[in-house]
Structure formats: C-alpha cells, structure tokens
C-alpha cells in the first residue's frame, strides 16, 4: 500500500518534472527566437549598409542581391576619403564635421553650465519659467527660424564658414546642455556648497571649485550627446554651407545626384559617419535614456 502510493507519487512527480522541463525548453526557445528576430530586424539594414560599402561598383546593383561581398574592395572608402565629391580637397568635410561638432559643444558647455547651475540653485521669481522657456526653444521646428537665421548669418558675412555653423550649433545645443546639467546640479546635495560658503567661498568659488567638479561625469555625458546631435544635424548645414564648410551629412546626400545615386560611396560614408554613434552607444549605455529625453527621464 505504502509502496504503491509512493510509486504513483514519484511517477506523477517525474511526469510533472518532465513537462516542466519541456515548458522551460519552449520558454527558452521563445526567448532566443525573439532576441534573434528583434536583433536581425534592427541590425540587417546596418549590415546591408556595410555590405554595400565594401562592394565594387558592378555588384551594388546586381539583379540578384549579393548577400556577402564576394570581391570586397575598399574603393568606395578611398574615393570618399580621397575627396572626389563636392567638397574638393580630401577630408575637408570630415574635419568640418569634427570641428563644428566639438567647438560648438565646448561653447554650449561654457554658456550652459553656469546657466544650468543658476537655474538649479538660485531661488528667484520665474526660475521655473525661464527653465521651461529654454527647453521650449529646443522644441521649436528649425524650419520656423531658418530663413531669418540664414539672413543674419549672411549679413555677418559668414555663410559657408565654420564660424557661422558653430554659432548656430551652439544655439542648437544650448537648451539641451542647460536642461541635462540642471538635472545633475539639482541632484547635488546643497549642504556641500553651503559648508564651502561657510568656509569663506563666494558663489562663484563654490560653483567652480565644488559643484562643477562634482558633476564632471554628467558634463562628459552631456558633451558626448551634444557632439553627436551636431554630428547628425542636416538642415542648418544644408542651408548655411555651400562648399567650404560642408559637413558629412551634406556630403552623404550629395551622392544622390541627378545622374543617379552612387550607392557604394553613399554607404561607405554612411558607415564612417555612424562610427561615433556606435562608440557613443557603448560608452553611454547607462545614460542613454537621460540624454535622449533631455534629462526628463532618469534611470
């Protein structure tokens, strides 16, 4: 009697174990399948870009797609970097992108850091209104202001120059920098600064010697984001440059000419231009959400 119950129990148990194992297997397969599907949807277009970039001219438009480059060649890359495009003179547009992105980021930080600190720390009337107003300028469609901005830059005589681009890109990033850093400054305990002020620091010293070093990490994150935002920017660069100050996005679009699209070169330059973004994604993993929402959502 005892034996039989024991037997049925263990049998039941093993069946249950068995089905649970199958369920687990199904669950795992489902997990892996979903991940593979999601990743391939996301990564395939990127793979296709790189694939096309390495194809020699004849293979790009083959009627049966060539899934892996059979004769990988660097000709697209060398031609893109060699500068046979609109921006004559080698890697000028590459340098233009690099300079305008980094210098405007530095300017935006110089103007934005004190403003962010001021908005986070000083209590005065309209404090929140000014902060919101600064954010709202970022939400404005650039098309709404582009013609007057163009006229202003033209009257200053700096159309198609890096200075013009840098001025405009500083405006472009200023709201972002201010909002991001305001969030970081608000997160600092005020006690540290107060004790510094008791020790005889004034506002400026407390700001420069205590607060700024404490949000160093935040400043780096903000700087990297604003670099990539400018790196990706297209409309202002399109309107405000002709030949000399062309940036990478403009150069990419210039391969789609009236005579047809030079896909190979276009994809080669797209591949090069995507490198900073990929590096950013790796370095900024933990801060991506905060950066992309202008600091509205914190992780």
């Amino acid at each position: 009697m005892d034996n039989t119950t024991n037997y049925t129990f263990s049998k039941f148990n093993s069946i249950e174990n068995h089905s649970r194992r199958i369920m687990n297997l199904v669950k795992r397969l489902f997990l892996i399948g979903t991940i593979v599907l999601v990743l391939s949807i996301t990564l395939f277009p990127i793979y296709w870009m790189i694939n096309t970039a390495f194809k020699p001219k004849g293979e790009v438009l083959a009627s049966v797609p060539i899934w892996f480059p059979q004769n990988p060649s660097l000709e697209n890359f060398t031609e893109v970097i060699g500068g046979t495009g609109m921006a004559q003179g080698g890697m000028r547009f590459f340098l233009n992108s690099l300079i305008s992105s980094s210098v405007s980021t530095v300017f935006a930080l110089i103007i934005g850091i004190p403003a962010a600190y001021g908005l986070a720390r000083f209590r005065f009337k309209w404090n929140k209104d000014i902060a919101l107003w600064i954010l709202s300028t970022r939400m404005l469609p650039p098309v709404a202001t582009i013609i007057p901005v163009y006229l202003m830059i033209r009257s200053l005589g700096i159309i198609d120059s890096l200075i013009g681009l840098i001025i405009v890109y500083t405006v472009y990033n200023l709201p972002f920098v201010t909002w991001m850093l305001r969030g970081f400054f608000v997160g600092l305990p005020i006690g540290i600064e107060e004790s510094a002020m008791i020790d005889g620091c004034n506002n400026l010293q407390a700001f420069l010697k205590i607060s700024v070093p404490l949000v160093k990490a935040g400043i780096v994150v903000t700087a990297l984001f604003s670099f990539v935002f400018v790196w990706n920017e297209f409309l202002y660069a399109l309107i405000l440059t002709r030949i000399n100050a062309q940036t990478i996005p403009i150069q990419i679009s210039s391969y789609a000419g009236v005579k047809g699209v030079e896909w190979g070169k276009m994809m080669a330059l797209s591949t090069i231009s995507s490198l900073p973004s990929i590096i950013l994604a790796i370095f900024l993993q933990k801060h991506l959400v905060r950066g992309l929402t202008l600091g509205a959502v914190k992780e």
Partner: protein
C-alpha cells in the same frame, strides 16, 4: 532709504543669477526669439529671397494664400498620417520590446547597445539605407518577389511613400521609446506584482492595473518627445 536698501538687497540676490543665466538667455534671445519674430514679421510682407523688389506690408495675404492652397492641407494630412502611424507603431513595438527585455537576461547590456544604434545614427544615412532597400529593384521588392508578391513602388506611389517613411522612422526610433519604457518598467517595484499574484491576478490584469498606471508618466514623456520630433523632421523626407 528703506527703498534703496531693499533694492540693494534685491540686487545682491539677483546679480549672481543674472550673471550665471544671462548669457544663456541672451544667446537664445538673439538666435531663436529674434529670428522667430523676424519670421513672424516677414510673414506679413511680400519678402522673398529670390525677388529683389521693395518689401511691402501685405497683411494676411501669405496666410490666406497658404491656407487656401491644396499643398498646405496635403502637407498637414501627410504630417498627421506619419505622426500617428509612426509614433503609434513605435510605441507598440517599443512597449512589447520593453516588456520582453524587462527581465534578467544573459548579455542584456550587449543587446541593448546593439538595439539602440539606429537611434543614434546619422538620420541622412538611415534615409539613404532605406531608400536603397526600397529601390524598384532593391532588396525589399526582391524579397517580396521571392515570396510571389508583386513589386511595390515604395518611393514613387504617393500613398505608399508615406508608408515607406513610417517604416524607416519606426526602425530608427523604436529603440528610443523602448529604452525609455524599459527604464520606466524597471522602476516599478517588484512587490506590487508579488502582491497581485497572491491576490490571484492574471498576467493581463497585473499589466493593466499595475504596469500601465506605474509607467503612465514615462509613456507620456516618450510619446510627446517623439510627436514633437516627427512634426519637425525634415532630413529623411529630403533624401
């Protein structure tokens, strides 16, 4: 006497604020608000970049002409279709992905980095990639033909073009919504769900009554930012 000492005190309070915030506000006034007002004023004149004649005040003529033109209403409806279609799809895909990835997973960080790349890439490059895929003899049509479906004129047919734009935009921006919602989801305390299970709630019920209310604010932020961006985007359509 009292008045002057008060204003001195006020000055002491406001001066640092002015020095810290002033440059930022001034810069934005000069390069955002001034151009905006300029745009506004130009909108009442016959000014044109290409015609050098005298600029005169013409009242609301530009507005009337714009509103009565077909292109204007067409562009409004196009924008609305793209905004609703793209943001809707991005939200649904993003939410499903976020629910899926909101668990312990080996190599999760690697997946997240890979998934977020489209959002950070140069938008023009993305436009170029999709334009290439949507070519009449491009990869998308090749795949459709392979499964016995006729080619679609993705870039030429006006009603299909909107769909192409929505697909490209969804590809680029789903990771953005996904990441934000994932951050929102991971902030929901686990104990809520444990309590719900004890009370016998189904998975759907705990999603509807716990998850959604908890990430309400996050959803609002994500969708709002996306709608604002979609309405003003330009580069993908340009290419």
């Amino acid at each position: 006497m009292t008045h002057s000492s008060l204003s001195k005190q006020q000055l002491k309070l406001y001066l640092p604020a002015l020095l810290f915030i002033g440059p930022c506000v001034g810069y934005l006034l000069a390069f955002v608000i001034f151009p905006l007002l300029y745009s506004f004023i130009l909108s009442f004149t016959n000014y044109s970049l290409s015609y050098p004649g005298p600029t005169i005040f013409i009242g609301l003529d530009n507005y009337i002409e714009t509103i009565s033109s077909n292109e204007f209403w067409q562009s409004i409806s196009n924008t609305a279709v793209i905004a609703i279609g793209a943001v809707g799809l991005e939200f649904i895909r993003g939410l499903l992905l976020a629910l899926f990835f909101n668990r312990k997973l080996k190599g999760k960080n690697l997946y997240l980095v890979l998934l977020v790349i489209p959002t950070l890439m140069v938008p023009i490059a993305i436009g170029a990639i999709w334009k290439m895929l949507f070519q009449p003899y491009g990869l998308v049509n090749y795949t459709l033909n392979y499964f016995g479906i006729n080619s679609i004129d993705w870039l030429g047919d006006p009603s299909v073009v909107l769909l192409s734009i929505i697909i490209a935009d969804t590809w680029q921006w789903t990771p953005f919504i996904f990441l934000i919602l994932l951050a929102g989801l991971s902030a929901v305390p686990k104990s809520y769900y444990e309590a719900a299970i004890i009370d016998g709630a189904t998975a759907w019920k705990s999603f509807w009554y716990i998850t959604l209310p908890c990430i309400k604010y996050t959803i609002a932020v994500a969708v709002l930012i996306r709608i604002i961006d979609v309405i003003r985007f330009f580069d993908k359509i340009w290419i």
